[in-house]
């Protein structure tokens, strides 16, 4: 109730959020999980301008991300890749178990493609580089919150290689 009032108030002020108050259940809720303060701030800035999207929490460690996800059941978790690989990418699987509706978008700094693919293979459905948050995060949030995936086209050949390795006869595996 309190939240809806607040959204309505800011909706009047900014105009762009007006429909949020009328259909509060359609707001895309977002948890930002990144140990880096500047990284979180960049996400908040990018999301503030979007209609129908709201940051509902921030986490700085893997464990905080897990408990916040269990508590808030956000639609989207923006997860720093370094947090996700802290436990061999199992963090993403844990987040998905804590909240089935939650979709994970990776935030990556300078990371090897194989680490990104590892995280995607554990259930992340988006990947945005930290340098391109302002440019691409809005697009990624819209895609992922409506059930699609969002990542660079350049990752696809690597994913196909991984799929091929899974389906190859056992003797072909290294």
């Amino acid at each position: 109730m309190k939240r809806a009032r607040k959204a309505r108030a800011s909706g009047r002020k900014r105009g762009s959020l007006a429909w949020v108050a009328k259909r509060p259940h359609q707001v895309v809720t977002i948890l930002i999980a990144d140990p880096d303060k500047a990284g979180r701030a960049a996400c908040v800035r990018a999301i503030q301008r979007l209609r129908g999207m709201r940051v509902v929490g921030e986490a700085q460690t893997g464990l905080e991300a897990v408990s916040a996800t269990a508590r808030l059941k956000p639609r989207v978790v923006l997860l720093d890749l370094n947090l996700s690989s802290e436990f061999g990418a199992t963090l993403i699987a844990i987040l998905r178990r804590k909240s089935a509706r939650t979709r994970v978008i990776l935030l990556v700094g300078r990371a090897s493609e194989s680490r990104i693919i590892e995280a995607l293979s554990h259930g992340a459905v988006g990947c945005v580089t930290k340098a391109e948050i302002a440019r691409f995060l809005p697009e990624a949030l819209v895609a992922v919150s409506s059930g699609e995936a969002w990542m660079s086209r350049k990752l696809i050949p690597k994913i196909m290689d991984r799929l091929a390795a899974f389906t190859a006869p056992a003797e072909d595996l290294e």
């Binding site: 893997g62 802290e86 086209r153």
Partner: protein, 225 residues
Amino acid sequence: MSDKQRAASVVLLASPIAGLRGQWSQGLAEKFPVYEVAERSALERSMANLKPAALLLDLALPGLGGVDGVPAIQRLSPLTSVMLLTSTPNDREGLAALKSGARAYCSSETDSALLRKAVTVVLKGEIWVARNVYAPLLEELTSLTERRHKEFPPNLDTRLDRLTPREREIAQLIGGGASNKEIAGRLNITEATVKAHLTAIFRKLGLSDRLGLALFVTEYNRVAR
């Protein structure tokens, strides 16, 4: 791209519909040498003789047999990047297309500038596919990964085996959320000893803090159960 490379980048267009071939070649002809075929036997000959850099293949080509027919065409020229075009794109078929070895899957009505871009990126080794194929592609990746993990469980056990029985006991208590003081009281040892054990545990498991350890133990218990 140098002239020499451009000369090598022959593009073959295969569709029974002349209008479509014309549309495709419009955007491509200024950049690549383009050849056209209208039916399967001509396609087979051209693949074998021209060994084109890319083949734009209409899935409606008679005798092709849809996506399943792609590997047979590919074998005629293994280095050719096969790009599939269809008047009725859908994400499941897109995934099947990529798994058949195709390097692109898109609408046969893709506009000529975009099609030129598609051919260009495919010749650079990338894959061109509509964004709505990304989600089923990742679902496939995740489910195959999960299945693999069930068949060959990740070696959490061996990592935990590196710990002494006392260290394992302490790790489990951390997993339950206990503080150093509580652990000390419970095991009747000093807090300094608990800390020493923790340092050893972190080192052996390659973890950096107790939150990480708690999560590790939780996950371990779930898998082990």
